[in-house]
Symmetry: C2
Subunit: 206 residues, 2 copies
């Protein structure tokens, strides 16, 4: 397909596509005439992934370039592709193992039997939130989170089921980013609606 | 208790307490000497709620004043107190019924049998996210959200259980805000950790 078509199919402007090519995120098209290049499905998949990483995950062009490089190293390792796409592992620190200093999070992860990297950013996020909840007196003990963790486990099963059947690693990575990041506000909104319903059920006549 | 003690127990600075009194959010203390006022448990509870509404929900002083007024009208109506605290109903538009124009959200709410206000902001949030997911081709049909809605329902049961036993409407409202808003990043972090674990379970040896 031509550049204009690639733009239409991917939802990325022609100017942005040219910029991604200059920055080495996207390979140039195959030249079919002096000023005309031809693009294929691989370009489209890669462009969709770039759009998800930059537009949805909010990564910089530099980090996206690094991540695309890391993804191409072991494209058949689904666990690694998902970890990179979702930021559980980062291209630059795969060798390094940060330790998130939070005994509460460690205890919760161990109690759940979860296999997660020491350096997973979600550990630090959880530790920070637990700290705030504690400081404001809104949470007694990390064990209060265990029922929530069990529901998170069931949510993750739905998430991974939805990613099943992706055709190639680029598509898998793109869909993982979209479904994980974009579903976040939807899940929070569903919880608010369900809270209102549960409150009505408990405290009103109908 | 004295002003300094009220500040220490509530975690709100003396300057902020004086400001809230000037703005009519908090009643002045009982004068026990020309320059000395005495504060009680009611002041403390109200101050904690103000801190939650302004500091955690991010409301303005004006909106908080309105909301505190609305809360004091029917303090025994738990469903109404929770709705106000969490923003499902707003003090200003209790009479008005906005219609969030989204057939998908309506269909989902109906399918779940949820009792929620037409004007609940979570409806509009959900509609917006569904629009984005659709536009990016990441979600086929709203029915794909039904299993997530069922898990949200179970989450809401945990939330309401945790609020059970609040001693008065001010405490109930404060705890509802803290647990709902502050748990949001924790729930998202738990989902990320659970995704990594589920991915490891499915796609790696151990």
């Amino acid at each position: 397909m031509r550049l204009a078509e690639l733009s239409r199919h991917s939802g990325v402007s022609v100017a942005s596509i040219k910029y991604y090519i200059r920055e080495g995120l996207l390979e140039p098209g195959r030249l079919v005439a002096a000023t005309q290049a031809e693009y294929d499905e691989h370009h489209l998949r890669r462009l969709r992934l770039i759009r998800a990483l930059i537009g949805v995950r909010g990564l910089s062009v530099g980090t996206t370039r690094e991540l695309l490089g890391a993804l191409s190293e072991h494209p058949q390792d689904v666990h690694r592709v998902l970890g990179l796409a979702l930021g559980a592992i980062r291209p630059a620190d795969e060798g390094r193992e940060d330790t998130a200093e939070c005994a509460d999070v460690d205890a919760l992860v161990e109690e759940m039997g979860w296999q997660v990297h020491r350096a997973a950013p979600a550990r630090a996020d959880l530790a920070e939130t637990l700290g705030t909840l504690r400081r404001l007196g809104a949470l007694g003990d990390w064990r209060a989170l265990l029922p929530y963790a069990e529901l998170a486990e069931r949510t993750a099963v739905l998430d991974l089921d939805a990613l099943d059947g992706a055709e190639d690693p680029l598509e898998l990575a793109e869909r993982a980013v979209l479904l994980t990041v974009l579903l976040e506000p939807a899940l929070l909104a569903l919880r608010r609606l369900a809270q209102e319903h549960e409150s009505a059920r408990r405290y009103t006549g109908g």
